[in-house]
Every structure is written in structure tokens, then in C-alpha cells.
Symmetry: C2
DNA sequence: TTGGGTGCAAACGGTTTGCACCGGG
DNA sequence: CCCGGTGCAAACCGTTTGCACCCAA
């Protein structure tokens, strides 16, 4: 989907809600759609500070991100880093995520059969589905190989070491809490 | 699984990690396995304050919950309330969750076919799976009916109202963030 | 005896918010 | 012009942590 089309859609969305298209909102939208990687609110804010353009505060980044989510332009994902990461979804097909516990890499995949079975499971319980998210956690090829070679130590509880609890943060709290709310 | 067995397992787990079984840890373990509902760290703390037994601080609740997760006695789940909710899993089969966006109810389901397809998807991407969680969000039979009858208003963005962004908190932040961390 | 455990209160940190000024439509 | 938008800084809030004292093994 072309940049102009996206901005146009955003403008329509805003207008239909009695909101305005400001320079800040436009800049955030552009930047969010300029990257094909997952980004955090802080990444976005850092880009706003670094790259040329109208000043954008952290508060506006968060407020606009909320609007973009509301309008289904972007989607938030708790990748276990203690902060939410976003990805633009307008013009992209739905997909689920594979999260590498070793390097944090995020891969995407899609399986229509799983989608169908989810719908079936919801129906069985009398639920009307609105959305879903499936996150598979494990080690990517590279990290799995490193671990097999014993190049990395497993996290531990005190001394003996265990499997490592899946906390909400990286480096045991690189993230958050408060799964960010 | 019987209470004594669980405590025994916990003791083994602790010992193997050079840790001690204290009155607080035992009390928290007992309480966590006494309920078959999902509970938050705060629920647990409230029970500790309310019910008779040795004093337990909020810090110890969190510290013990981390240990229980590490030992796979309980599992945390971000149900979108702004705080993590826990459920004991020792002695229970794996399952996924259905979250009602209307009343917050959490239902469980399991489908071996989905599990297999997840494994297949991971393999296709070269991932070694460690865990996964699938959350289906929607409206339970009761809430879906209410909505159909127009008894509830949709959340909105400012004035016109929209579909409501899936925030991490209840009542638009009844929770909290972080995504707990 | 001794190293781990606990309570308390302060710190964390991502995110939200109150307020006064700014600017798009 | 008018109401929504923005920056700033403070507030939020679930969770984590430093510290001094306590206790299980």
C-alpha cells in the first residue's frame, strides 16, 4: 500500500471521529509505516528526536499509537521485552508470531488451518471471536545451535540454575509489567 | 493431585536449588492450589492479609510467585487486565484461553490438532519450541447477547466512538503494564 | 552457625494524565 | 474563532529491589 493512500486512510479515520490530522500524527504514521520491523514506542520516540521534522513528544507518540491501534493501522504485541512492540498491519495479512528466547528475534507465520480450528474452539464455547494472538516461544535455528554447543548458560534460580522463568522482561526485566498496560 | 504431594514436590524443587521451605512459601503454595480460578498477585496478597496464618508481605508474594513459575507449579497469563493472572498448572493438562472482552471471564480449551500445527509451523521456521500461548478474545455467550440487544455501548475514540482499542488494562487501564513486566 | 528469607519502603519503568498554550479546519 | 492537540512534568501502578533483621537446616 502506497504512503499517500495510508495517509489518506488515516485522514478519513480521523475525520470520521472528529479528530484532526496534525503534523505530529502524520509524522508518526509515516515513520511507523516506513519500517518493516517491529518497533517499540520508545524506538518511535527516538526516531522522532533523531530524524528531521516537527517536534514530537513522548506523550504524543503514545497517544497517536493508541489512535493507530484503534483504527487498525498498527497492532501491539507483547514480545516479552517488558514493553509492547508494534507493527503496521494495514495492507498486511494477519499472521502469528514466533519469538526467539535467545536473541529476541520475531518471526511471523500463518496457517489457515489453525485459524479455522480457533474459530471452531470459540464456537464450541459459545464465544464470538474478535481477535486472537498466538505466540510460539523457543529458539531460532541460530540460537538453538549455540545452546547445543553449550555456548550459553541457562538462567537459574539462585545457585543450581533452572530453566529460567519466562518473565515479562528481557534480561529479566528489560521489559515490563507491568506488561505495559 | 493431593495437597501433601504438591508441598512435597515444592520442597524437592526448593532443596534442589539450595532454597528453604518457609512458612510463607508454604502458605502461598497452599493458597494458590486451593483456588481453581485465575488469581492475581494482588488477590493472593489480599488473601494473605485476610485469612489466618503467618504474615506474608507483598514482596514475598511476588518472589514466591516467581519461584512457583520457575518450578512450573503455576503459570502467568496476561489476560489484558493490566496485571498478570496466575493459575496452578502442576497436575493439570496444558490448555489455551478464551478471554471475554465484556465481563473478563476466562475460559479454557484445548485442541490437540492446533498443538500439532504449531509444532509444524515452528519446525518450518527452524524453531525449537519451548512454550506457546494462544489467547482468543471475544464475547462469551452472555455478553454477546447483551451486545446484540444494545445493552452496552461500544468504547469510542473521543466522540464518535469506535471499536475500542485493545489496551492492556481493564476499564481502559484498570490494570496496568505492563504489561506487568 | 550461616546463608537464604522476609518485611518495609523506596525505586523502577513503561505508560498515562493534568494543565496551559498552540494551531488545524 | 473554537475545540482538539501538544509538550512538559508529574502521576500511575504493578512489580522489583536494597537493606537490616530473622530463621530453617
Amino acid at each position: 500500500m502506497k504512503p499517500e493512500q495510508i495517509v489518506q486512510r488515516f485522514e478519513v479515520f480521523l475525520r470520521s471521529h472528529g479528530l484532526k490530522l496534525t503534523a505530529q500524527r502524520r509524522r508518526i504514521l509515516d515513520r511507523a509505516f516506513a519500517t518493516h520491523e517491529h518497533f517499540s514506542a520508545d524506538d518511535l520516540y527516538a526516531w522522532m528526536k533523531t530524524e528531521p521534522g516537527p517536534r514530537v513528544s513522548r506523550a504524543t507518540v503514545y497517544r497517536t499509537l493508541a489512535l493507530l491501534q484503534e483504527g487498525r493501522f498498527v497492532e501491539g504485541l507483547d514480545a516479552g521485552r517488558g514493553e509492547l512492540v508494534y507493527e503496521h498491519v494495514l495492507g498486511h495479512a494477519h499472521h502469528d508470531h514466533l519469538l526467539c528466547l535467545g536473541c529476541g528475534r520475531i518471526e511471523e507465520f500463518h496457517d489457515e488451518r489453525i485459524e479455522a480450528l480457533q474459530e471452531e474452539a470459540a464456537a464450541r464455547k459459545g464465544f464470538v471471536l474478535v481477535s486472537h494472538d498466538l505466540r510460539l516461544r523457543g529458539y531460532c535455528r541460530t540460537c538453538a545451535a549455540k545452546r547445543a554447543r553449550g555456548e550459553v548458560a541457562a538462567k537459574s534460580v539462585e545457585k543450581t540454575g533452572g530453566s529460567g522463568v519466562a518473565k515479562r522482561a528481557p534480561a529479566d526485566r528489560a521489559r515490563r509489567a507491568g506488561s505495559p498496560r
